[in-house]
């Protein structure tokens, strides 16, 4: 691997790590656009490759959070395993229905959730 490519990947990984650790998310929203912009990925490969990186990044961040005593292991497992079933169902469903209206509806739900968090 060329040095400049490794530097770009390292920068993207570091940024995703900060994002993941700070917000408790995978960091895909940081990696995908940067892979497209800096390394010429198409969006499908960028999403797929960021998913593979997330396996490592989320695990690192979870381990670091565990050292602060913040991880509720039982809840994490109770969410993570059914979530796998949900994702498989969701991707199956995505092939079969129009997602446009659902996307907009869900965006509205996210806005409502943000408001809920702000007034909490």
């Amino acid at each position: 691997m060329q040095a400049d490519r490794a530097v770009k990947l390292g920068t993207i990984g570091t940024a995703a790590g900060v994002f993941s650790g700070l917000f408790g998310v995978g960091g895909g929203s940081v990696m995908v656009p940067l892979l497209v912009l800096w390394l010429g990925y198409d969006s499908r490969r960028a999403t797929a490759t960021s998913l593979a990186a997330i396996v490592v990044i989320a695990r690192f961040a979870a381990i670091v959070q565990a050292t602060y005593g913040n991880v509720r292991v039982g809840d994490g497992i109770l969410i993570g395993i059914p979530a796998v079933v949900g994702v498989l169902f969701g991707t199956w469903l995505q092939q079969r229905i129009r997602t446009r209206e659902i996307s907009l509806l869900f965006a509205a739900l996210l806005v409502a959730t943000a408001v809920e968090l702000l007034v909490k």
Binding site: L51, V64, Q65, N70, G86, F89, A108
Partner: protein, 132 residues
């Protein structure tokens, strides 16, 4: 316990259906329904993301979409960032972190609307897009 399972099922389904990240759903679910603090919710979400990302990666790798060498470099070099990000989160109050997270999901909502109106939401999917 039922609450956590429902958060996982619902969050996973929406993540698979719309291609948004699971964490964006797990964290508010844990805060609003299971009454976890923002720090605990974020930390627990990270753990829940791992199995989802593993399964997603296996599927995408099957389609040949994963550039493994790049993923390994990005993942491997994320450690310092993850340590810094977690330290930053833990230096903030729960309230400050919750406000920052609310800003993040507003941004995700904005991006979702933008990509949907651009037509990406109707992309006929021969292969799948998904991201936890």
């Amino acid at each position: 316990m039922i609450g956590a399972i429902l958060i996982g099922l619902a969050g996973g389904t929406i993540a698979g259906l719309l291609g948004v990240g699971g964490g964006v759903l797990f964290v508010p679910g844990l805060v609003l329904f299971l009454k976890l603090g923002q720090h605990q919710a974020e930390a627990t979400s990270l753990l829940a993301i791992v199995p989802v990302a593993i399964v997603g990666t296996l599927r995408q790798d099957h389609y040949g979409n994963v550039r493994r060498d790049d993923a390994v470099v990005m993942g491997g070099l994320s450690l310092a960032g993850a340590i810094a990000g977690v330290a930053l989160a833990n230096s903030l109050s729960g309230e400050a972190l919750r406000i920052a997270f609310a800003a993040l999901i507003l941004f995700v909502a904005f991006e979702l609307v933008r990509s949907t109106l651009r037509g990406a939401g109707e992309e006929p999917a021969g292969e799948e897009r998904e991201s936890p």
